[in-house]
Symmetry: D2
Subunit: 363 residues, 4 copies
């Protein structure tokens, strides 16, 4: 585990993205039953020796409610803004509208071992006790940490993925240089894991939309509308990998079609941080609903949506804003990391950020 840093989150600095209020932890775990677990691998330094290190990587599990995700899948939708990556599990989301495993985030080349870990976890815990194993479809997303990490060393093993699922917990979520985000960078600075949430009201009921990102992308950094691209390291350092995974969860009863619509809006938040959707940046959004498949849940919101799908507008706003703030948090909370070959991703200089936002009248 990375040390828990004292660096503030965006909101601690006074930044307010959009008009809506965050949930209790301002995290994806504000959606009841959703848990997050990280396993962080951080060891070695000096020159890259493929297979030996240095190691700056990990795996993050976003775990839907319950413990038999196959028997009780969550409804899901997805959107690929830029398919320059190798995320697994998207075709089942489109076809069956569901996710039947935890959603895992790791580095690009470790998708296979993490997939194996999900399979082994579910075979051992869910299927072996019953004596029969069906096919199922793990969801594993990735971005590349090749700039800091010995990515070819495949240091994330199946056991790490199983451990990330096992340790997943509700409540506050560690951000920055943790889990799948350990070796990631954004806009030339250190990126990684970030999360945020928004409360919305539909049909008189209060619901929540949460986002969690693994940020590793580029563009021209913009914070709450204020430009910071002059501070960015030269773009060449991003060349080996630059992507973002965006996970949106909600307790609103949204179908596959509506979740795919919500997923698209996450990219609006991504855009507002300055992304230009770089060629090699695999930008994926996966959205899921914890209540859609329980017809008795959230009846008022269900009715409101059936009566007027336009009530989704506040949900779209929530998804865009929570994603934007999650990206900021992934950078605000991340500390400077030096990886293989001395490659460095510096922490975003928050004093400069604060001063410039203040000068622009944004704080």
């Amino acid at each position: 585990m990375a040390t828990i840093t004292q660096r503030p989150r965006a909101r601690d600095l006074g930044i307010r993205i959009g008009p809506l209020t965050p949930g209790e932890h301002n995290a994806i775990t504000d959606v009841a039953g959703v848990r997050v677990g990280h396993v962080t691998l951080n060891s070695g330094e000096g020159p890259l020796r493929i297979g030996h290190g240095p190691v700056r990587t990990g795996v993050t599990a976003i775990v839907p409610p319950g413990d038999d995700w196959y028997a009780e899948p969550v409804e899901a939708g997805q959107f690929v803004f830029n398919g320059a990556g190798t995320t697994v599990g998207l075709s089942l989301i489109d076809e069956f509208g569901r996710i039947e495993t935890p959603v895992m985030l790791t580095n690009t080349l470790s998708v296979g071992t993490v997939y194996e870990g999900v399979v082994r976890y579910m075979v051992e815990r869910i299927f072996a006790p019953r004596g029969s194993v069906p096919w199922f479809s793990p969801v594993v997303g990735e971005t590349s940490d090749a700039y800091l990490n010995d990515i070819g060393g495949l240091h994330v093993r199946a056991e790490h993925a199983m451990e990330a699922i096992r340790v997943a917990a509700a409540g506050p979520v560690e951000e920055g240089c943790v889990g799948g985000g350990m070796g990631m960078g954004a806009f030339g600075f250190k990126g990684g894991i970030g999360t945020s949430s928004r409360m919305v009201e539909l049909g008189g009921e209060s619901s929540v939309v949460g986002a969690l990102v693994q940020s590793n992308f580029g563009g021209r950094l913009t914070i709450d509308g204020v430009p910071f691209h002059d501070l960015q390291a030269p773009a060449r350092q991003d060349a080996l990998g630059a992507s973002i995974m965006m996970i949106v969860a909600t307790d609103l009863p949204l179908s596959n079609r509506l979740l795919a619509r919500v997923a698209k809006r996450a990219t609006l938040g991504m855009a507002r941080t300055g992304s230009t959707g770089g060629h090699g940046s695999g930008d994926y959004v996966i959205a899921f609903s914890t209540t859609y498949r329980s017809p008795a849940a959230k009846r008022a919101a269900r009715q409101a949506l059936a009566d007027n799908e336009g009530t989704l507008d506040v949900v779209f706003q929530a998804a865009a804003d929570a994603t934007e703030e999650a990206i900021l948090n992934s950078m605000f909370r991340a500390e400077t990391v030096i990886g293989r070959d001395g490659n460095m991703r510096a922490a975003l200089p928050l004093d400069v950020v604060e001063e410039r936002l203040r000068r622009a009248g944004r704080l």
Copy 2:
């Protein structure tokens, strides 16, 4: 034709969107051979009498090079951010990677008559002289002007579409309350037609990316990162229609696949103006290349793209930035319009814009 106003374009005020330089006219017509024509219908006032007016509508033609678009189609790609509309011609763009007619913009319910106009124009000019008529696929986009216009009156006739093609010209493009944009509104203000362009260099050759929009959408207005949503009229006035058509043209030799990628990046510019992708907002992007199907053209850029598709990054930047500036221009150039039932779309108050941008250090 609407009166040419003296209101400035965004760049006249000193606004600079992104790092790239516009082309000669800062318009989609900077792409050699591309022409734009408007027919504007603006008559009557007072209460709505369906079929009689008031009329606040029109049609805009974006005409690819040459005059036999069927024999010499342009390569094309598209992206639907929100399919809440009725744009025609998208499936052929996906399947054949081409556009074989002018690209038309009008109001939602006039798609049919404009389609008929394109057919009649091409039958008369191209096919009848040869004595045989094949099937072909007109491209007609739309947004709804129901808030200001007698949209049910179908005042745009086939003849108007034919006239818009006929008058299409190179050079500066009229913006604001013209053509298909006559009755449109954006962010509660008057919107309509806007355009912009960016020069890019690939393979040592200078090329251009141009955007033209018909803006009719909403969200929380943001100009160059500075918020203006407090000035917006209450959202309810947008309820009857809120969408955006974005057309991107380039003389870069981009295939269908690359144009679809470019089209996606136009939505990044849309996002930065404050769109939250409203439920009822049909947000479509159509992109075309004037050179891809001429193998002898733009050889150096062609080679640069084949060697490293990542050279597209500057094109993505150009598409996002030109679209953002085109949206601003559509509002900057538009004057206040009062339509049916006294419904009003006020011109964006540019004095407030200027002062606030200056205070935020953006001018």
Copy 3:
């Protein structure tokens, strides 16, 4: 109206496609509330004089239940096997999962006038009485009758589309050389409109899946597995247009996602008639459910699908089989037509068909 022919339908000859039983009329109108109307234009002969004829065309309306399709839309899904055409209304089906107008079939270049007809019909009947007109999204499909018809003459006018909606009726459906199918050909023979249906049981309830096609495509004709391509006219005659529109309706409570899945299976029936998905053949499927948006309807089937989506398998079978039989009916019922310039589409020689099927043991 074309003369009602005495030619038999496929089933009259003893052909049985698949294991399921057709509904009462073996037609899309077996789905309660669904009506079909044709307007057939058939006049003139001799050489093509563009704008004058000969005229071999028309328009067909498939009308969902009720008479305010905007206030009470049907749930819908779609699949484009080959986008070589210009069908309108698909993006709204994907985005909103609904159809809010009749579904119209006509020739390719008349999409615009038919679109206008739908708009005028709905403005006059639905919106004008209320004094306000929203935007809405007509669904108009097409195939090309350029081989027989003066397609460039745009003989189908808005009034014809309005009339097709007006005359739409439940019960038996006229097939062959009627409506949009008047000038169409399939596999070198005369094609046009055909329909069929299948009864299915889900959750103990009996439901129906109906298909209607406008056949104008090619390949190597196969009837119930038996090859007939040796009888086909040389392929060149198909060059000017070759496509198929497939409409599937059901009273099963299927969501947009499930309807899109059902739509894909219609192409399996198309494949079994010998299609090879020709380059220029625009092959589109549109599927809709008349009950999905009425939560109180079809509760048992709804529960069966929620419990196990695999119960769809019989629906997939029904969609494939009904589409295959609808295609056969479109050819079985069509009579020989001579069109412009003496171009001829001969009726499928049913005596040869019967004898060969008998020899192959299929009758």
Copy 4:
């Protein structure tokens, strides 16, 4: 390796699917440079003991030309008929139009270990010698062998995938119970790996289209139009897994867009064998071109396609026919297999097939 059986291929029996002629080996390896390798795991019998066996599984590698697939990727396109599975690598095919690794086929739950095997193979052979490892995107397809195999035991390891790539060879391809097809069944009979090819002429040049399938799907078995569904085992036995992977390779210079079009036509061949696209049947097609990215190759075909994309029609026919015959071969060559818990997939009884086809006049 499974024993090479003496069972005939479809063509050995006199079956002729479509009008085109196969290549030398009637196999995907007729495409110059394409190699196929199998590793087959077949051990144990008796009751299922999860983690111990019985083992009836394996992995198949379809290896594009050359040995640095990252530096010299093949152009690719794909089509998902039914996304009920977990195939990896599709989004990069859509986005970059390329495949940069071998294409692997295995069982559903072993996708992760096979992914790891591809990564390790390429890191060791390609990247480690250069001292730096980029991200890349393995392509791994799957179908479920849970009916015969201890699928939860994850018996396919990374080493097996590496070995399948290593042993891949040109020339005749082993079919039936080999590689990824070891434990697969089709239409209630034993299925597995099958392949076929067709010669086509474009621009005066002879080219080849090859297909390879891993068949594990169901429906109503039809061989060359003749029904055999009365012979099928009851459908329930298929419930645990039923899918098909279809790989199409060609030396024609086809772009991503055209390859996606070709991929769709493979499903026409699938349809003609009797598939009804079962709910749980993950039906995926991946198509690649070995020459598109070498502008000097196949100039005449390139020109023919540029002049008239309709010349693709023969390629569509070839893809559909080769896929249909590959499916037949996967069953014709497969021998009876008894797997876990005594579950059996009987070999297709070829004597019955021959006699019935003869009676129907098809031989």
